[in-house]
Symmetry: C2
Subunit: 501 residues, 2 copies
């Protein structure tokens, strides 16, 4: 019998992809489930990653003129009802605050008291409460555009939850803008999707397909929802960000009116756009392997860990001094606007120490012992390729930026190659059904470009038969005559099908 290769994570991706995902998170010490139904605890290693994401995205938002704000957590029920499709979309998953204190009941136990005249909804998203403010702030076309963002927690009561991917409470940013013209709002919708694309590709190293959603997959209340979709290693799609053109729907609901340049009263055109901690779930599933997490350097909380080789009871002063000097030399290097961050792990716990950092996904590990110091060398291991080699210490220090760039690039290219290798064009319904019917576990089929006639019935049939959805109508899908993969009727272009998270 062939000996099974030992991996740090059990089960492996092939054995049980879903369980592997949970174990990668656990082994990395990024997060864990909380005792509160559907809510998670984000631990320091996970939260430091989120802070880097916020920092980088903030800079990109600011460049486009967007400014940060903070709006109330609670939304009066009547506000949510101002846009009919919107409230229908969120009514089934709302946390509802009905009381404002606790009092001792008949049995001496505390029970809710002080019933509110109007229930408050813990925000699932903030279009309606922000719309109320925009309405107050908008008198003339000179008050527009309004370009706002907030980083906030939101709650959508989910029945089946999974860390980072789907939790009842999650952290996100939500952008909200109001414009004097339809064209400007449409342009902003695409501009922010482009920011998302650049962030997710350049920082999280996840290649994405950009496109628009079908009517049935739109944000409740939007005229048009655009999205970015990434392929996970189980070939399922993950929606990593959405940007919505809301038309005048919310402006009418919230009464966002202004006097235009011609002196006439008009409703504003609004947009909203969001990304969340879900991106972290995507990052994990795109890059990690059977030894655990792999973090792209541009968002990693730390880039390098130094593991000094310590002699128990011996004199380790020289090794520690050399370790600290190496840390300082690396800290002096600037990688994409941040200093190179270095962890030192001098715990005396044997091989488990190195594995801890493998599982945490730190891009580069350095072992440093007396011999290395004598030779002015370091022993380097790359997390992405598992390459390990002795290197000249100065060459390592001077090459660290190139090395991190190379790791970042390698991760992106690997994910892109993987997606290409699992992307098909299919024109036969039989082939389409055969592919997805056999798709389970790690082998969830592929990204499939097929023709679609545009009918909701066909979309629904495929969803019901195969649990496959139209992820988007890609922007770069060329005009092409064809026959709908479901009904055979005429179609003008291919759309992207996949199983999805």
């Amino acid at each position: 019998m062939a000996k099974k290769i030992k991996t740090a994570i059990t089960p492996t991706r092939e054995e049980d992809y879903s369980q592997w995902y949970q174990e990668v998170i656990k082994a990395s010490d990024m997060a864990e489930n909380s005792p509160v139904r559907g809510c998670m605890v984000i631990k320091p290693w996970g939260f430091a990653l989120w802070e880097n994401i916020m920092y980088e995205m903030n800079a990109m938002f600011k460049e486009t003129g967007v400014r940060n704000t903070y709006f109330p957590l609670f939304i009066p029920l009547s506000y949510l009802e101002r846009e009919a499709e919107h409230v229908d979309g969120f009514a089934k998953e709302c946390a509802v605050v009905t009381h404002h204190k606790l009092e001792k009941g008949a049995d001496g136990r505390l029970v809710p008291a002080g019933e509110l005249a109007e229930p408050l909804i813990v925000r699932p998203t903030s279009e309606t409460i922000i719309g109320e403010s925009m309405s107050k702030w908008t008198t003339s076309y000179r008050d527009l555009p309004i370009l706002l963002n907030q980083w906030a927690n939101v709650v959508r009561w989910e029945m089946r939850t999974r860390m980072f991917l789907r939790t009842s409470e999650f952290l996100w940013q939500e952008g909200h803008t109001a414009h004097a013209t339809k064209a400007e709002a449409q342009e902003r919708t695409l501009q922010m999707l482009d920011v998302y694309t650049r962030f997710v590709e350049d920082y999280l190293a996840m290649p994405v397909i950009c496109g628009r959603k079908t009517e049935s997959e739109r944000f409740p209340g939007a005229d048009n929802t655009t999205c970015i979709e990434a392929m996970m290693q189980d070939k399922r799609a993950l929606q990593a960000g959405t940007s919505h053109f809301l038309g005048q729907n919310f402006a009418k609901g919230s009464n966002i009116k202004f006097q235009n340049e011609e002196g006439q009263e008009a409703y504003a055109w609004t947009t909203s756009w969001g990304t969340s901690t879900r991106m972290i779930g995507g990052m994990i599933m795109v890059h990690s392997d059977d030894d655990g997490l792999i973090m792209p350097p541009r968002v990693a909380p730390a880039h390098v860990v130094i593991l000094p080789i310590i002699k128990k009871g011996g004199d380790n002063a020289e090794v520690m001094e050399s370790t600290n000097a190496l840390k300082q030399a690396l800290n002096a290097k600037i990688y994409h606007g941040r200093r190179v961050e270095v962890e030192i792990d001098a715990r005396d716990i044997g091989g488990a120490r190195g594995w801890d950092w493998v599982k945490k996904g730190i891009p580069v590990r350095i072992e440093l012992g007396p011999k290395d110091i004598a030779n002015n060398a370091v022993f380097m291991a790359r997390r992405d390729t598992n390459e390990k080699k002795a290197m000249d210490r100065d060459a390592f220090i001077n090459g660290i930026i190139d090395l991190l760039d190379d790791i970042q690039g390698t991760l992106f290219q690997r994910a892109l190659d993987f997606r290409k290798a699992h992307t098909l064009s299919i024109d036969s319904k039989e082939k389409f059904y055969t592919l997805y019917k056999g798709a389970t576990g790690y082998e969830n089929g592929a990204f499939v470009y097929s023709h679609w006639c545009g009918s909701k019935v066909c979309e629904e049939t495929i969803k019901k038969d195969l649990s496959v959805t139209i992820r988007c109508i890609p922007f770069d899908s060329p005009a092409e005559e064809g026959a709908c993969i479901c009904c055979g009727n005429g179609s003008k272009r291919r759309v992207l099908f996949a199983k999805a998270y």
Copy 2:
């Protein structure tokens, strides 16, 4: 009749301090009340200030080994009940989530549905939910200390609210630590109070008195609460931060146990410490004047505004070019780790333009017109002193860091002088009562150091008679024999009395 001096804010501080405060916020465009009871909207100018506060405090926390995390918004009612004093302290002001969806009622209107088996409390603070995790993470003394912080929104249902000072939802940071020994936890309590002191004094330019709270003013469930107290311009005190030594109370409630170095099972010792957007309220009330907000440079969203003198319909290319060049030259200067931030306001709205920036509290205003450019000069105005003068342009650029430091120092010194001028030692009950009985509006008396015997009855009597409370037992109050200001019994040291926010 003497002509009244015109001020940008009506009413002035003397006329109506409370209303003046609201008007300063409104005129600065930092924040406004929201339609949701007791909740505010923090607008970009206010939120950028909060972001700077978070940025600077994060760095100080990190230096002490604290790392950021995120815990659930919701706390099961049974968790809150784990510490008896704690739940008593917060039961009267809890937002309670009782349902997880909305359904159409008999009249077709949406009503709460899906009642929860156990109500969830929107966190008023997170000791109990974080304690639950600490309990899971703590097995051995090697797992300690645990040093965590989170930036989060919390809700305490307030009946009378005031922007930044007291709102039902507010933003804060809450630190939570667990230690193996009592001494270490007590040391951490004071270490974090020291961080707060340094931040509030060095960044917000607010001098504070550090001390411990009396038993009746302690955090519910704490063994000891330490605090920093600042004097507002109406001579009332504002508690700007608290750090609590929680003893083993929460460790017992949450079962945070570990095996100590001697192999025995023991409960951990915990601390918690918090500051909030309330600090912004304090900053406003300490520094601002009858022309509006004054921001300390170290936390101001922008340091300098350039107001180019524009000719309507004329050729302004040269002025705008010179304006942009000045901005770039200033941006290249580093003020306490951040670049000097510059706003350009080229609106053609006459004198209102300058006043807008006075009211927004920006530290330095620069006017720049063709004559200034010809003379290589700028016309500079300081917000703190109202000093205005023509300056050599290069001298201004090269002196900007010193200028900002001088403004920062001036604000702190002015606040310190003000507090000293309104601080008294009183030994006569009659004098004490006379002072505070006459204290209303802008003239709220003073900070008074008087003797106190230590009894709750005396503390309560003074509170009832005068609305004056013991703000703290100052750390630097020397041992001194005296007679209690209320009952005349023996006392070992003076405590700090004041009316408070």
